[in-house]
Assembly symmetry: C2
Homo-oligomer: 704 residues x 2
């Protein structure tokens, strides 16, 4: 007798499992009654664990279940307690039946890995990849008997999983409308998140709400459960696929919502693999920052030797533009002039900064560039910008121009000029190019054939995931590194393409020029535990004038600006303020000149999401350490254990910190002290941070 499908599903609620009921409602009377009913009446609710994999230390376990209707779910436990409850896996296709039910396990393979690999640059030099992997093969029992694998890699600090769909006649091309992946967070939690698919892309202040109040969020999404466990959900290796967002579903679970595209968010021929869906897990907030999970799930370096990219600092014609003192467009206030740039080159050379970024250097900025990026020419400078002469002027001083390719989202137009533009830049000694995609969400312009129709895409859609890799690969051929602004999210592809060195992808320093409000004190302390988990950010720190347009105060102390160089990791760091402002703060400027940009090691000494953080990093190839600490609007004293210093050595600690009475509001934000102390491993450094404050420390070995 053919049963009505509703019979097979048991109940109409999205989580037809005993476990789900108990987890939602505990052993309440309703639940017990339901339990009995379910046991008696609903064999489908009984799921069977068909595969498992645990972390190397055994504390994290992933279990895969198939229930009575052959539906697959995974769950994650830590020390035996649920972290992720039963969560769905599967796909809705446009061009085929959904891949969800009537599955059976057709084999599994467990492997272990423990390797160490080296980053050509980064927050640390050596990265350990220590995980256990489960590869589970599934096949549909009915229909076309389609096959797919789910691969789980479990690390001591988290889990990554992805789907791998082999070539098969019944699924030659997958048009993925919805990926049914869920993350059913087991406990109530606090969430730090920014909204997805809204006009200002990633440039929002993070919201701190209960998990229950998350609407539609971007990743990384960071959580702290009610029992203090930190989680961050993200993805690794976003290649030829739509970016993943997270929507809260009717049962409180987080569901994947792919960035839109046409004819479907994702179109892939088999065989294909999805990006890795990642859940980083740590008791300490700092553990999220220290994790290498995302990088470890990316493919190894495809570019080979990349010593042509030098982690470095740069200055440029940039802040003046955001202050509205100079313009991108030509005219009396044009910023990108030969003379202005020479001054910048001189300033860079005098202070040992390698790069000079100049925005507005090329044709296309006059008129309404925002509305029409098709006017940009990426190879032709404006008449008042002697590109070739300036490149030579810079070269003679050991300085390199940093290129600027603002597309204003006329992306196909950019792609047509890109290669010759990189060729030109390379000839001129340009090693790094900052790209830009300034336009509202959903306004990327794609034109497959010149003169053909223009279609709109999303910054994090599948088409743009491919565009960015076309850019990065072409740049690599020219030995050019890419710093993408208004980008796609970072998912660790810098491992595979180590010329993809940095990106924006959050509300950055420019908002301190003209934003209403400017970035509040907790913003950067939140970024460290959210945006920065994805990868380096070109935050462009160091605005020592602490003032934006028309006298608007930047909500930061002076010492905080220095801390950003350590707190917010990037292999290229801007010395962003006007030269004349640095002249007013010589002590602070000294730290900026001294701070390293490439590291052997990084560790979080202390921190809580959105409250405060102190990070220590060891300069690559030198025995120096740097510490950066940043604070929200509550003054506090941190006790930092200097256990990272080499034993038996003494160090001079050059401490740049908030002065007495410092505060992010008013003139008090300039209260600033530079002092020195002698310290050694085992010492505990007491560091007072003002409201909206920070501290930056350079530790130099005294002996030898």
């Amino acid at each position: 007798m053919a049963a009505h499908p509703c019979h097979r599903r048991g109940d109409g609620n999205p989580r037809p499992s005993l476990r789900g009921c108990l987890q939602r409602r505990g052993a309440s009377k309703a639940c017990v009654g339901w339990l009995l009913a379910a046991l008696l009446l609903s064999p489908l609710a009984q799921a069977e664990t068909v595969a498992r994999v645990a972390s190397p230390d055994g504390r994290i376990e992933v279990q895969l279940d198939l229930n009575g209707e052959g539906r697959l779910a995974y769950r994650v436990l830590r020390d035996g307690k649920p972290v992720i409850n039963d969560s769905r896996l599967g796909f809705i296709f446009r061009n085929g039946r959904q891949l969800l039910r009537n599955l059976r396990l057709d084999g599994q393979a467990n492997t272990r890995a423990d390797t160490t690999w080296e980053q050509p640059w980064g927050e640390r030099r050596y990265v350990r990849d220590h995980h256990n992997e489960l590869r589970a093969h599934f096949v549909e029992k009915d229909g076309d008997h389609r096959r797919f694998d789910v691969v789980f890699r479990v690390f001591d600090d988290g889990v990554g999983f992805r789907y791998e769909v082999p070539r098969q006649p019944a699924l030659e091309q997958a048009q993925i409308v919805q990926e049914l992946t869920e993350f059913a967070i087991a406990r109530p939690a606090t969430a730090w998140w920014i909204p997805a698919l809204e006009w200002n892309r990633a440039e929002y202040l993070y919201r701190r709400t209960s998990l229950a109040e998350v609407g539609l969020a971007q990743t990384p999404l960071t959580l702290r459960t009610d029992d203090g466990l930190h989680l961050s959900i993200h993805e690794a290796a976003l290649v030829d696929y739509a970016g993943m967002n997270l929507a809260r579903g009717g049962d409180g679970q987080l569901r994947v919502m792919l960035t839109p595209g046409s004819p479907a968010p994702v179109v892939r021929a088999t065989p294909f693999a999805t990006p890795w869906r990642t859940i980083t897990i740590s008791e300490r907030a700092g553990g999220l920052v220290e994790s290498n999970l995302t990088l470890n799930l990316n493919e190894p370096n495809k570019l080979g030797e990349v010593s042509w990219f030098k982690p470095s600092k740069y200055v440029g014609v940039w802040w003046s533009l955001h202050l509205n003192q100079q313009s991108w467009a030509t005219g009396q206030e044009h910023g990108a002039t030969t003379e202005n740039t020479r001054r910048m080159i001189d300033f860079a050379a005098a202070n040992g900064f390698r790069g000079v970024l100049v925005e507005g250097w090329n044709l296309g900025w006059d008129g309404d560039w925002f509305a029409n990026g098709w006017n940009f020419d990426f190879r032709k400078p404006t008449p008042d910008y002697d590109l070739t002469g300036l490149a030579a002027y810079a070269a003679a001083r050991g300085v390199h121009l940093i290129g600027h390719h603002e597309t204003a989202c006329a992306v196909s137009h950019y792609e047509r000029q890109m290669d010759s533009a990189f060729t030109l830049f390379r000839q001129l000694g340009v090693e790094v190019v900052k790209t830009g995609y300034v336009c509202d969400a959903g306004q990327i312009e794609r034109q497959d054939t010149p003169g053909g129709p223009i279609l709109r895409e999303w910054h994090e859609g599948q088409w743009m995931s491919n565009h960015h890799l076309r850019v990065v690969r072409d740049a690599a051929r020219h030995h050019v590194a890419i710093d993408a602004h208004e980008p796609i999210k970072d998912t660790g592809l810098r491992r595979t393409y180590p010329n993809w060195v940095a990106r924006e992808g959050a509300r950055g320093m420019e908002y301190n020029a003209w934003g209403h409000p400017p970035n509040p004190p907790e913003h950067e302390v939140t970024l460290v535990f959210t945006r920065l988990l994805a990868g380096p950010m070109d935050y462009t720190p160091g605005i020592v004038s602490l003032t934006g347009r028309d006298g608007q105060e930047i909500q930061s102390t002076l010492a905080r600006q220095l801390a950003l160089y350590v707190g917010i990791y990037s292999p290229i760091q801007m010395v962003a303020d006007l030269p004349e402002h640095y002249a007013e703060h010589p002590q602070a400027f000294q730290f900026i000149k001294d701070v390293a940009v490439d590291w052997d090691e990084s560790r979080v000494l202390a921190g809580e999401v959105g409250e405060y953080v102190a990070i220590a990093r060891k300069q690559r190839g030198a025995p120096l350490w740097f510490v950066g600490a940043m604070n929200d609007r509550h003054p506090r004293t941190l006790a930092l254990a200097l256990e990272f210093l080499d034993p038996g050595k003494r160090y001079r600690a050059e401490i740049y910190r908030d002065g007495e009475g410092a505060d992010w509001r008013g003139p008090a934000r300039f209260r600033f002290v530079r002092e020195e102390k002698t310290v050694a491993r085992g010492d505990v450094l007491s560091l007072w941070l003002a409201a909206g404050g920070g501290a930056a420390i350079r530790l130099v070995p005294l002996d030898g």
Copy 2:
């Protein structure tokens, strides 16, 4: 000097307005500081009201603003207080620039309307359409100078608005990726909602959460603000467009999320109008139920005279199937046999019920019909079902077979047979057809050419909005009425096509057969204020046995089952239980035989969302009134003022109510009393309702 677009937007937050800040944070210090900064620095934040329209009674006002960057927003006030804060309007297209900014008002027209129209059947006979309309013409100041109108109609109990886009060379076809419409609810609120785009479509228990905890919701979405105002957000006249869902955005606002489709959720040639986006507003919860806003925004009757549709009751081969006592498929337990159906016809005839629904009557139910709706034949009965003979048997007894067209989502297959299937049915005296679309969300099967590729659609996507109207129009040609299950949401199109008489579209009675859990006591009391605001529901009430499969208790008292006939409106009401069960409850059955199904008038005497409700309805064309009251799990006594009775008349109140100690749990759910009282206008009837209980009353004039 060309400004950076970020300058023009002022801040990076999605709500760059003074009003928004004040409304969110009150006159806090942060807000005042922001206010000053905004006044000094950000002309764009200053918006100008360019158009207004108020309700006839003047209490509700809609204001349209254009801000400094030409971006349009609407807001809704009631008695001068914000109900909806500044909310965005606009579109993201795939095939053109977004329609959002740089708009100017190019004219406006205000009109008033006060008409009354008659429903051929319904919860009331005469409907007053009293509103003020504002039609505002907008044109882009730049680019292609595209034009569109926004039309607002304001009633004393709510607001409806839609976009109208005229034919124009720069926008010949709109591929709408995202409709940017928002509803920025001004106050904290409680929300009753079901999740959108999840596998079980609309068949979820309603969640009651704070508005802040809404994730992605279907409409109607019902709210009660913290100052007691009731709102419901929905749409009217969903024609050739994707169904609207509501997602909570980063600023707490509700944003429209259209049901997916390809190449975009909506593809329309200009000129086109969107559905009306509706906000029903009432101090009383009952006011939402009594509102005619949705119907009034639909086009008038296109079918002309529809007396061939008779509001009526029906029985059928249905509950036995859900009890698993009989089967849809052929075999020993086949429900749809000639003999079973004859018995049903006899039962119907003996009790004055017009219709007999038989499910499983046709070829295609054997095997896994759920997986393959393409096997259904809508014209061929099974060998053990004498369709023609049964039609004649029924006709001789004044009974009509109700047709059943379960598609199992093989929709294109159904469309190919539909017309001949209706022809056949009409010849056999079938007046009503129940259709079905049983499959998971996103699994509708569309095949544009026979043998061609099969694409998947969504139940509430644009393609299905058109499919349903093709069915309804074709059925109308055959004088057949449609009762659609697993349908698209009701948006009032029964006004335009009064043969579209009812639908399911929520978790119905069938879940009481096999659902885990069955429908809890508050479910139906919530449906009245949510699902039922959209239109009639074929809930299939009257399971007087109060028992599902394998003895599972239905969470309802006996009197509650009778109340459903009045509480949950439908012009076709099933007498759903097995005949032998009615024989066990003759008193209750009498009410079911007596209750009307078509009304002159309906009013809510008392009610709170999800708690309790009492509705009074006057039988159409007769001086009888019926009252239905339903209760959540908290026993209560209602004091119902019988002010609706005709003055100067006495009525016999035939009261069917919960007996002493009645309760939805256990044998106590059968405690039941029938009593009579004489009442008159002005009396207050005290009505005790058990936990999970109800009452049904028939009021018959005593004099003349």
